[in-house]
């Protein structure tokens, strides 16, 4: 009796096994071997910073020409060079990026109009317009922190998120998570950035936040032409036009609301 069971089941196993081997051979799909090779050099963080849903689709896409060779933001130049070698092409230079928090409206500097007790995510709070007087600023509930896969962010005591620059890979996950466009990627060597996104007129901004940009355009006037331009009531820094980081110093020093945040600039008197 036992013997029969063993024979029957064993036989079945054998038949299915043969069938599987056969179909694997017969229906084998030729996959570009370069995909495997690229996968080996990718960081496999599956962060999505390249725009693909994950590392594998990115590898397939690079081979198919859908994504640029230097598309992996986490891997940077090193990975770009390796992929280029595998594909036998020239890798363009990777500009390493880092995430910055473009809002200085913390618990002290920004007026709070309401007390929010609902769902504790920025997305939920943004739906009702936030709890601050400024309807453009950081909501402080940390959707960005939650989204960061590299532990490169934490929520500061003052209610604004902080990026740990050494850990940040520039993947941009936080940028996608923020409902208010507070998080942005800037070149890793950017000397300064603007800590405000409010497009409103000076008085309307200063009514609700002491560090918000009042759009006076002084900064644009004290730096070499083209380094900073005004778009509406907000200055935009054109990093690619900045010849010498020192050139931006006067903007930082003269800004009446001290809205510029210094990253790589020494001896600034603010």
């Amino acid at each position: 009796m036992i013997l029969i069971s063993i024979l029957v089941l064993g036989g079945l196993g054998l038949v299915f096994g043969l069938f599987l081997t056969f179909s694997a051979k017969k229906f084998h799909v030729e996959r570009d071997p370069r995909i495997e090779k690229i996968l080996e050099v990718l960081p496999m963080a599956n962060c999505g910073g390249c725009g693909a849903p994950g590392c594998e689709p990115f590898a397939e896409g690079v081979v198919a020409g859908k994504y640029p060779v230097n598309g992996c933001v986490v891997g940077g130049q090193e990975v770009a060079d390796k992929i280029a070698a595998i594909l036998g092409v020239e890798a363009a230079a990777v500009v390493p990026k880092v995430a910055v928090v473009q809002c200085l409206g913390d618990r002290e500097t920004a007026k709070r109009f309401a007390e929010y007790t609902g769902i504790k995510t920025c997305k939920a709070l943004d739906l009702i317009g936030g709890d601050k007087g400024c309807v453009y600023g950081c909501l402080g509930l940390g959707d960005c922190v939650e989204a960061c896969l590299f532990d490169a962010m934490y929520m500061g005591e003052n209610g604004l998120p902080v990026v740990i620059e050494d850990k940040c890979t520039g993947c941009g996950e936080c940028v996608r998570a923020c409902p208010r466009g507070i998080m942005a990627l800037v070149p890793k060597d950017a000397p300064i950035y603007l800590g405000c996104v409010s497009p409103e007129r000076g008085k309307d901004v200063s009514d609700v936040c002491s560090r918000g940009c009042i759009g006076c355009s002084l900064c644009a006037r004290v730096v070499p032409e083209g380094n900073i331009t005004m778009e509406g009531y907000l200055p935009v820094i054109h990093y690619e036009n900045v010849k010498n980081p020192e050139d931006l110093k006067p903007a930082v020093e003269r800004c009446p609301t001290k809205t510029f945040v210094v990253r790589n600039l020494e001896n600034v008197n603010v």
Binding site: F113, A114, I119, K123, L127, I128, G129, V135, P199, D204
Partner: protein, 436 residues
């Protein structure tokens, strides 16, 4: 005629006694008004006035952009101070025309009686559009769009909505008591445009006096007045259509898909005023209620900041806890009393600090109470779980986009889960993804 009972729904205490017996009072214009360019569902209108322009009551301030759009008009006479981003009841700031109020002049011709009996259908629809008329029940959908159903979807039933099922609000109720003739005249205009077989005014049975007055007035016109059982959300379009006609609007469909047209009583009056007196929609009746000293119903110029209207209602009785535009079930909490009244504002509810209960949220106990009350037949518990897990496509498959945000589910949930808030968030996320 047997009335059908829609599925689900709840019976919240209606608190209408607060403002029910107070007659509609005009509110004097404030110092400044802020008229948002977008007060309707659809594309925002384009301004046609510039800074320093002199305007009068009823002067058109903007131009519709596209078909699903209406203009806005000045509710006051004065000087345009500019177009500024200003607080809007939907959260966010939106462009608004700021006007400094001076004098009390009215645009030429407004108020003069005119004969509209020979107007053609298209002319009437165009006049309604240019008068800036939108549904005054809350959704603020442009009325002329509803009045132009596709030719293959003829309307056989017109329903005038006097249900006003949202607790606290009494503006429609007062209009029914004070201006029943105008409601009927407006209804007649709608009847002329759509040529339906049946015209019904639906009113919840907790307003017997309104039912009685309208019943007397419709005598001989062929219009029916139907008393509906009071149950929230009876006044919601789809539930109302089902109760009165037994027809079910298909998921994702509109009332005209089942040959129906629903319009609020206030809108009927606005239509009448537009054709009879050339009066654009620049003021509306708003119930100011809850923790104010003199709750009541007020005729408010559009664009008046809530703070000014609250003052007219005797000011707040204590410390403000919440300012809600709309009622407690579907209304939106505001961050400041600077927010202006817009065309869709049916009420402002003030909750005092000691009345606002901040409840702890507990995990879902799978009691399915939310499923029982959902008038749209959805499963709020499942949808919430899916949204929280980031599974938006699956939530969409479960009918997320059909949620009418009535709040019944949040109202009954014993675990006090923020269901509607989650759905609003989820819907926004779905729309964002669709755009990509």
């Amino acid at each position: 005629m047997k009335l059908l009972k829609f599925k689900g729904g709840v019976h919240p205490h209606d608190h209408k006694e607060l403002s029910k017996s107070s007659q509609i009072m005009p509110v004097p214009a404030p110092e400044f008004v802020y008229v948002p360019l977008s007060q309707h569902t659809g594309a925002p209108s384009k301004p046609i006035v510039e800074k320093k322009a002199q305007v009068k009551k009823g002067t058109r301030l903007s131009e519709p952009v596209g078909f699903v759009s209406v203009p806005v008009h000045s509710p006051v006479s004065g000087t345009v101070m500019g177009i500024v981003p200003y607080y809007h009841p939907l959260g966010k700031k939106m462009d608004a025309i700021k006007i400094k109020v001076e004098g009390d002049e009215i645009e030429d011709g407004i108020g003069e009686e005119r004969d509209y009996s020979n107007m053609k259908k298209e002319e009437m629809i165009e006049a309604i559009k240019m008068a800036g008329i939108v549904g005054l029940g809350g959704a603020a959908f442009p009325t002329h769009v509803k009045l132009s159903p596709p030719p293959d979807k003829p309307i056989d039933t017109v329903i005038i909505n006097g249900a006003e099922c949202e607790p606290y609000l009494t503006s429609d109720y007062r209009l029914m008591l004070e201006r029943p003739d105008d409601i009927i005249k407006g209804t007649e205009i709608i009847r002329r445009i759509l040529n339906p077989k049946r015209v019904v005014i639906g009113i919840e049975d907790n307003k017997p006096d309104a039912i009685q007055i309208l019943r007397e007035k419709v005598d001989g016109t062929g219009i029916e007045v139907v008393s509906l059982p009071a149950r929230y959300p009876q006044g919601s379009e789809k539930q109302l259509i089902y109760a009165i006609t037994g027809r079910k609007v298909p998921a994702g469909g509109l009332p005209f898909d089942v040959g129906c047209y629903v319009q609020n009583v206030g809108t009927a009056i606005a239509i009448y005023e537009a054709l009879r007196f050339g009066k654009p929609l620049y003021e509306r009746v708003v119930t100011i209620t809850g923790g104010v000293n003199k709750p009541g119903n007020f005729l408010v110029p559009i664009g008046t900041p809530a703070s000014h209207v609250i003052e007219q209602a005797g000011g707040v009785k204590g410390e403000v806890g919440k300012i809600i535009f709309g009622g407690p079930m579907m209304g939106l909490a505001q961050i400041t009393d600077a927010v202006p009244v817009i065309k869709g504002t049916s009420g402002i509810l003030i909750q005092l600090k000691n009345e606002v209960h901040i409840e702890d949220v507990y995990p879902c106990i799978r009691c399915s109470s939310c499923v029982d009350v959902c008038p749209m037949g959805l499963m709020p518990n499942m949808m919430e779980m899916l949204i929280n897990a980031g599974k938006y496509e699956m939530a969409e498959k479960m009918g997320l986009m059909f949620c009418i945000e009535c709040g019944c589910c949040s109202y009954v949930c014993p675990s006090k889960r923020p269901l509607v808030h989650t759905f609003k968030m989820g819907k926004r996320e779905v729309l964002k993804r669709r755009k990509k």
